[in-house]
């Protein structure tokens, strides 16, 4: 009895090593070409969407903003930075928010940290002249639906960050107990997630806000785009 043919498709049972290598090489090459083609075609749309989401978030946390620009530390000075070429760029950045004339009115600072479940990613607005946090939006979270996700949905909590003094430091207090301008009320029933947000903002604030230059000393917007109202995009 001859060698059993498992696969009627392969008629030659023994292919030489050259053929094996050649097959995989050709498959890999063609695959690469296809993926690069798809990447090139979809890239502009993907980047435009990401920019739109970012713009919407920045404009929400810094009221009155008309333009934005990436800022990063270059040595001791904060300077404008080009858009990241690709993902995986870990340089910590903030976004300068500018009015129509190109003068800085505040910073939008992205931050992330551990929540009740998984990471919470958020962005908050900071006004360096008034030493105030002027807005906060949670962008990414997997907190428990109905409980922890109130950090996104509970308007009272979200707007608790709209005018928050940072002197001497920001504090979380129980729901209904706000007594000073530097206090935020926790969401009743979602204490753990509220604490997580507070911890993330406090940590990021200590890293960033205290050394961010005042409005007058901040880098100006290099390219002043035509002031266009931010389009609403669900983050």
């Amino acid at each position: 009895m001859s060698a059993r043919q498992l696969d009627p498709g392969t008629t030659e049972p023994e292919a030489g090593p050259l053929k094996l290598v050649a097959t995989l090489t050709i498959a890999g090459l063609l695959s690469g070409v296809a993926i690069v083609g798809a990447w090139q075609t979809t890239r502009p749309t993907i980047l435009a969407y990401q920019a739109q989401v970012l713009k919407a978030a920045v404009f929400k946390v810094v009221p009155g903003a008309q333009g934005l620009q990436r800022l990063a530390w270059q040595g001791q000075t904060l300077a404008a930075e080009a858009d990241p070429g690709g993902e995986g760029d870990d340089t910590p950045v903030v976004y300068g928010a500018y009015d129509a004339s190109g003068a800085l009115i505040g910073y939008a600072i992205p931050a992330e940290g551990a929540g009740f479940q998984d990471k919470i990613g958020l962005i908050y607005g900071y006004d360096p002249d008034a030493s105030k946090i002027v807005g906060l939006r949670v962008l990414d979270s997997r907190e428990t639906p109905g409980l922890g996700d109130k950090i996104i949905k509970d308007q009272e909590f979200v707007h608790g960050w709209d005018d928050l003094s940072t002197t001497p430091s920001i504090e979380l207090v129980a729901h209904g107990k706000k007594a000073a301008p530097n206090q935020v009320e926790a969401i009743s029933g979602a204490t753990i997630s509220s604490k997580a947000v507070m911890r993330i903002v406090s940590g990021s604030y200590a890293d960033w806000a205290e050394r961010l230059p005042k409005r007058a000393d901040a880098p100006r917007q290099e390219i002043t785009p035509a002031a266009s109202p931010a389009k609403e995009v669900a983050p």
Binding site: L6, D7, P8, G9, T10, T11, E12, P13, A15, K19, L20, T23, L24, A27, G28, L30, S31, A34, I35, A38, W39, T41, T42, T45, I46, Y49, T144, P145, G146, L147, A234
Partner: protein, 217 residues
Amino acid sequence: MSQSDRTAEELLKGLWKENPTFVQVLGMCPALAVTNSAVNAIVMGLATLFVLVASSGLVSMLRHFIPKQVRISTYIVIIATFVSVADLVLQATLPVVHKELGAFIPLIVVNCLILGRQEAFAAKNTVKLAIADAIGMGLGFTFALTLLGVVREILGSGSLFGMALFGPNYEPWVVMILPPGGFIMLGLILLVFSWVKQRRQARQARQADPAPKVGVA
């Protein structure tokens, strides 16, 4: 059996008789992970359908050229290519859903349903049959995911395709959109599936032998 009968049969078997999720219990990872809403489930099902049909067609087309020693690696390269394309296209066209599905789109590569169909069917059959089989299996998978997604979204969020069904005071069954809800729902649906199958078999047995002999001599 005529050629078109055969094609129809291969197409239909994936929908019910050999449904990948409910009968073969393949591809459980996406079936449990992304069926927390109907939209997510449908998009995941269609992305898988696309990858499956494209890969099966190509593998069947190339089945005489791929040496059998490297066939699995070649299948994986083919599947991975289509998955990457699907991932990028989704990211560009449906960014919100893409974000929700997250890592599960790239993970279609390791969905055993897809590699299984290449090895078990596409590599041994004509292009026409392979594509019919892939469409059937892909649609069966999409149907199963959508069923899970619809039930879980209705109970877990009180909505269907994002539209609220019960008004603002609905008390959502949070567990249903969390991972345990996926397991519970899948278990219950599998239960119903086997129950229906059992009843059908019992009925067929009765019809085949309407007057079973009672007692043995």
